[in-house]
């Protein structure tokens, strides 16, 4: 199936760029690799047929968050951009061992328990229309999400005011 090949390509992009993003010395490169991870995630959403979620991922993450990172990097410019103050080799090794143990445990649990054997079908067979999402987000019926929607909008307003107050010059 074509889904398998696309999934494998996306997985290689996500994991490879993810590892590079946490190990590379330059923060700017790390931000760039993070952007590729986010694009790969958007690709996974497209593969699942969730086109609106994928476009939100691209717009908000790749268009907003990564640009914000790069702005912050440039505004905090004069420090040495390399992460020179990195931890000692022993601590790095300990972190690696802890991470590998945790990942091994997680993978063991995931692989040893069978989930429902639903296969991923072609995206066209299972799509969620934007109309449906919009109606659900703004309905106050049983499966509506009006209250969380309004709470998130208040959170975003508070976040705008908060970041302006925190970052302003005194």
């Amino acid at each position: 199936m074509a889904q398998t090949i696309i999934f494998l390509i996306l997985a290689v992009i996500i994991l490879g760029c993810g590892i590079l993003a946490v190990t590379t010395k330059r923060i700017m490169h790390a931000a760039t690799y993070l952007m590729f991870v986010l694009f790969g995630t958007a690709g996974l959403y497209f593969l699942m047929g969730y086109t609106f979620l994928a476009s939100v991922q691209v717009m908000v993450y790749a268009g907003g968050v990564v640009v914000l990172y790069i702005f912050a990097l440039m505004l905090t410019g004069r420090q040495d951009k390399k992460d020179n103050h990195s931890v000692s080799l022993a601590k790095k090794f300990a972190a690696l061992v802890a991470t590998l143990c945790g990942a091994g445990l997680f993978l063991f649990i995931i692989v040893s328990h069978r989930f429902a054997e639903n296969m991923l079908t072609a995206p066209s067979e299972q799509t969620t229309s934007v109309k449906l999402i919009g109606q659900q987000l703004l309905s106050s019926d049983k499966f509506g999400y009006l209250l969380p929607f309004e709470v998130v909008s208040i959170l975003l307003l508070a976040c705008i005011i908060g970041s302006l107050i925190i970052a302003r010059k005194r």
Binding site: G18, Y61, T99, A116, M119, L120, L155, I166
Partner: protein
Amino acid sequence: MDRLNELINIILGIHVDMTWFLVLSALMMFIGIYGFLTRRNTLAILISVELMLNAADINFAAFNRMLFPEGQEGYIFALFSIAISAAETAIAIAVMINIYRNLKNNFVANLDKLKW
């Protein structure tokens, strides 16, 4: 060439199911945790946190898509999660710019004013 065709046929015979998504997001999560433990620059730590958040989002979407394709709960949870992580990033970056203004660098080793 025959070997390549054989390999392609084997790959075409495998179907993507729930486990694949869970394994991918678990690996992504632990890559983020490794970065969180080893980085010393606040911006780099935030990048690792972003990786972990994305792994959680993949899980939301995959559970919805593979187990309950007729519902939209995971989909909308992932949407809200993206909105909240964007808000979190904005606040965190404002804090970092403030730290930089006061300390002239962004390394967590220097952030001990609130420790004692």
